[in-house]
Symmetry: C5
């Protein structure tokens, strides 16, 4: 156990030893093991965007074993996916990589200005599959947020009681938030805080822009001259919103990016700003395996530096 991992675990004093053990498994696994940084492979796009859009760019990815093996070979800290994908490999790869069960999901067959996620698996499923954490998405700003926060409350309580960690995908959206506002620095910072207050151990958000969405927030950002001009500054601010850095905050890779340098720059900004790492889906499993491995390892090299 490295001093850094010990330090991180010390922030979670309310948790039982079971949950701490599972957090430690996440932090100690893979090429970044012990550094306190994380690179996680998430594959819920089959549910969220459909199989062809997700896997046709790299057809071996239709096979659920592909993602287990990619995550293992790349040396990721964990692999996160919905029930079906985890069930399809949990026995074959038992013990090879920490698993995060995504317990709610939304498809894109219909459009709702106030989106919602359906419960697609249970804490009991995570336990029987040997996962170390449950993943849960909330949409702060959606008209359904009250229901989603309440569901997370119940899942988190059950997960912690059973020694699991809780990873929250916090994605602001809904009728009251503009498209640009979904990644606005004030809104992303707020989304970080909500997830942290709801008891998340690990929080995942999108990399924020310099846009400010809410007038009431703009006044403060300007009056206090909060530095948000550069990606590094924005990451640093988001980390502040995660209990002054005392909650693990990671960033999603976002849409497929043509230019790897852009992506690597993002990782460098996250790293320099004090972020804890990345969760990289489409930019990894949608390219050929060697290229995916190269990218994931390049990301890890940045976070390990």
């Amino acid at each position: 156990m490295t001093p850094r991992v010990k330090e991180i675990l010390s922030w979670y004093g309310a948790d039982n030893p079971g949950t701490l053990t599972n957090l430690a498994r996440l932090l100690n696994h893979g090429r970044l093991g012990g550094t306190g940084k994380l690179v996680i492979l998430p594959v819920d796009q089959g549910f969220e965007h459909g199989p062809a859009r997700s896997f046709a760019p790299n057809p071996p990815a239709y096979d659920p074993r592909y993602h287990f093996e990619l995550a293992i070979e790349a040396g990721c800290n964990a692999y996160a996916a919905p029930l079906g994908f985890l069930e399809a490999g949990a026995r074959d790869y038992a013990g090879d990589i920490p698993l995060i069960l995504k317990t709610n999901d939304a498809d894109s067959l219909r459009d709702d200005k106030d989106p919602q996620q359906a419960l697609t698996s249970a804490v009991a499923d995570a336990l029987r599959l040997g996962c170390c954490a449950v993943g849960f998405t909330i949409y702060p700003g959606s008209a359904h947020e009250t229901a989603m926060y309440g569901q997370l409350r119940a899942y988190a309580e059950e997960a912690k009681r059973n020694g699991l960690a809780v990873v929250v995908w916090s994605y602001p959206r809904g009728a009251a938030i503009s498209k640009e506002g979904e990644t606005a620095i004030d809104v992303v910072g707020y989304a970080v805080q909500i997830a942290a207050q709801l008891g998340a151990h690990i929080i995942k958000v999108k990399l924020p822009t310099a846009h400010i969405e809410q007038d009431a927030a703009r006044k403060v950002y300007e009056a206090r001259a909060i530095p948000i001009a550069t990606p590094v500054e924005r990451v640093r601010h988001a980390v502040d919103c995660a209990f002054a850095g005392r909650r693990i905050l990671i960033f999603s890779g976002g849409a497929t990016v043509a230019d790897d340098e852009t992506l690597l720059d993002e990782f460098r900004a996250i790293h320099e700003g004090g972020g804890f790492g990345s969760i990289i889906g489409r930019n990894s499993f949608q390219r050929p395996r060697p290229a995916a491995l190269a990218l994931l390892r390049a990301a890890m090299d940045i976070y390990a530096s």
Copy 2:
């Protein structure tokens, strides 16, 4: 236990021995036993379309015993029906044929642009009736999909815990999907993926057309030149969407077809494309028994070839 059935069971490593035993019962029963292919008799049309529309074309079919006997005599792998029909024969034909309890149903007395299914029986009913699986319908794309996915989540968790298998009827429909889109290749492939991610052991969809419903999907189908011109290619693509063929995917016979050759061609396409078989309702029980037996056996001959 044939090597092929052993192979299929190996895909379900997350399940307990009870569920594997019930999957094996389905795969090893009847004329296709051991081949890894399935022909199932489903009779939920009395609920879905009404008794006269369903059974008047072949009046002996009003009697619930008729369908047990048809499925047994034809050598089907299983018989699937709602609570009432199974209760009406489960003791008399106990042990004669694997049963699938359809646990939700919708009638056609009212029209809803966003349809929903009512829970009509429970996992506990499936257990007391000696069923090997529960059947559950979802309507991806309906405004009620969130509720239906959540109900399936609960039923599937309870079923698997109790050693039952889970069969999901995945029928896209709802205000956001055009009539043509309900069988579009992209939408059917998506419906397959959703059912698989929700943890289905066996997935049933309609045979897809070459139509593409969603613009976001069309781009990928064209850019990647996914072959979907012929029925065989479309079945193959749908099988890919079922975890690269690692989930059992069967196809419904659809509306009554006047011309048997058309139907047999469909079975041939399913077989050639790597599909796992058919679930044949109206095209079997709505014709006289000898004709039904002939058709079912012709289907089995194709799948056994």
Copy 3:
């Protein structure tokens, strides 16, 4: 135990001995005991239409004891009523007559184009009151049907587990069904089938007319020339819809009829068409006791013939 009752019980092979015993109690009690036919006294009109409309025509009927005594003296197979009416006599008349607890009810203080019933008692109430069955109303065609089917599912499962029988009042209504359509032969036949598929042991519908409500059904009735011209034929068709007569189907007496001969003709048609009897409320308890006894006995004479 008569051969006929034995035969009827044989249709319910999925039920436990407790439920069969209670079905036998219903079939073996009263003047029609052992014939396989049933005449039941139902008194839920105090809730459904209000006390004055229900009981002022025959004021002794305000007293809950009146109905117990009427049913006992007439030799009915059972007495069915909501919680309050049964609680008011269950101890005094314990063992004198089989009881059916009506577990949901609707009042007529408000008008809803899509009506719903409120849960007014529980399976546990039926058990503590010594009832042999629970009664439950569904409104196929109402926008609330999904909720009602789901409630029935839960009540039926609990009732059967505890050795009770399930009697379903299946009354089509709702915005999508015309007033005339509520008693249309196709709709009533469909309502019979739905109740049977939901697991009802005994189904109660209104006597259907020759009207056909749904276009999709009309095609089949015409193409197959299903005989529905006379009341006898319509009863026979409804019995077919009850699993080819393998579920007990009874008919409600409907609104108060001035002319007894009309009523007796209805009973004769039900009897000749293979119906299992009648449930006679307003036409019995709203007339003076001697006249009610005379009518109930006349009905029984028809069914015993």
Copy 4:
């Protein structure tokens, strides 16, 4: 135990000895103990109308102890109030007076054409506070009536199982009922019947007027010439609607009345019409204590006569 109380208890043959004991406590306590008549002090106006409107007319009534003491000193049969008021005195006055816990309440901070009550305490609260009954309000005619009946069903089942009595406030209101109709004789009679059928031991309604609200009811009242011209006749009719007088029916004092003689005339009419007593809130606790005691005792004198 007086013969009259014994007689009343005999109407509740479905209840367990625990519930009968609590009914007997209510009937045997206070100045009317043993007469079969009841005068109850209810104080839920702080919640229903707000504290100033309720208690400013008699400021000592802000103190929860005031009402316990008023009810005890006046010799009421029971004191009924929401959770907070009962918690504030249940230990200090333990054993001094039977308590009825009002388990749902509505405030008047918002206006809803279809009103609803919120659940504000539980059966478990009634048990831990030593109450002999739970009180529950329903609004027959409200669009929320289905939910409220279902909640009462659950509370009543739990209360009876635990040996408590059930008191139902049955107040018709909602978009489908005119203001005048809320106290119409047909509607009040209907509200009595609904509460009785839902299993209430004691029913509380407002004193009805001679107005008839529903056309369908008017026909019967006229055809049968039901006497409803005088208050005595209307009470008698309401008592008939309470299972021909076999359920305890009491009447609320209604709004504050300037003229005591009017009030006493109401009590006389209730008494002469066969009503079981009064529940007197605002007309007692909103006047100075000596005047309140005088009124309550005058009421008791009438009921004891």
Copy 5:
């Protein structure tokens, strides 16, 4: 145990010794320990207004440890916060200060004319974190009030059963209440009463203005000449609404106030009017620590006087 604390505890005779012990912990802790007065530090603004608006004015406040230490150093009676903030310090500061877990929260990412709070933690969380009370917000007047009262009912019942105290934030708002009406004396008094009737041990409201919102209330305030002209009179009236002072009523500090004297005058008015203290959030943690300590101690000096 001072006589005053003993007296206060005597008002809660319905509670078990566990709850009384926790109330005593709150009353006996800190600089005001034993006086019967309370100054509590609440920090839920990170969730309610967002992290930048809440903590940027005093950046050390991003760190959850800051608030524990501020409350401890100032000698507050308790520290109240949502789940995340309490989890982040409950072990490190175990035993140092009584904790109140805020169990529901609302964010300001969307605007709802009828606001609602989401359940964000459970009574079980309060127990495992060593809290002495749960906090719960209700919005009397919101269209969602029925649901919120019902949730509070369930939480309060569970909390009391497990020996915890219940603190209710009672904030009137919703479509039926004007902005000015949210702090109107009649509405605030009503909000106090509702919380008390729902079983709150400690009630928190905003300091009321002399405005009267409801016509029905205005008549009484005028007819009875209830003194509400000065802050002291209004506090006194609000205390009357809290069961004549037999429930602990505290006041929130409200928005950040530039002028400390204004704030101290409010504390003086609360003290003189018989209020039990203040809950001071933004006016403490949004200023530098020394200034915050000075203010909190100034408040305590007033309440201790």
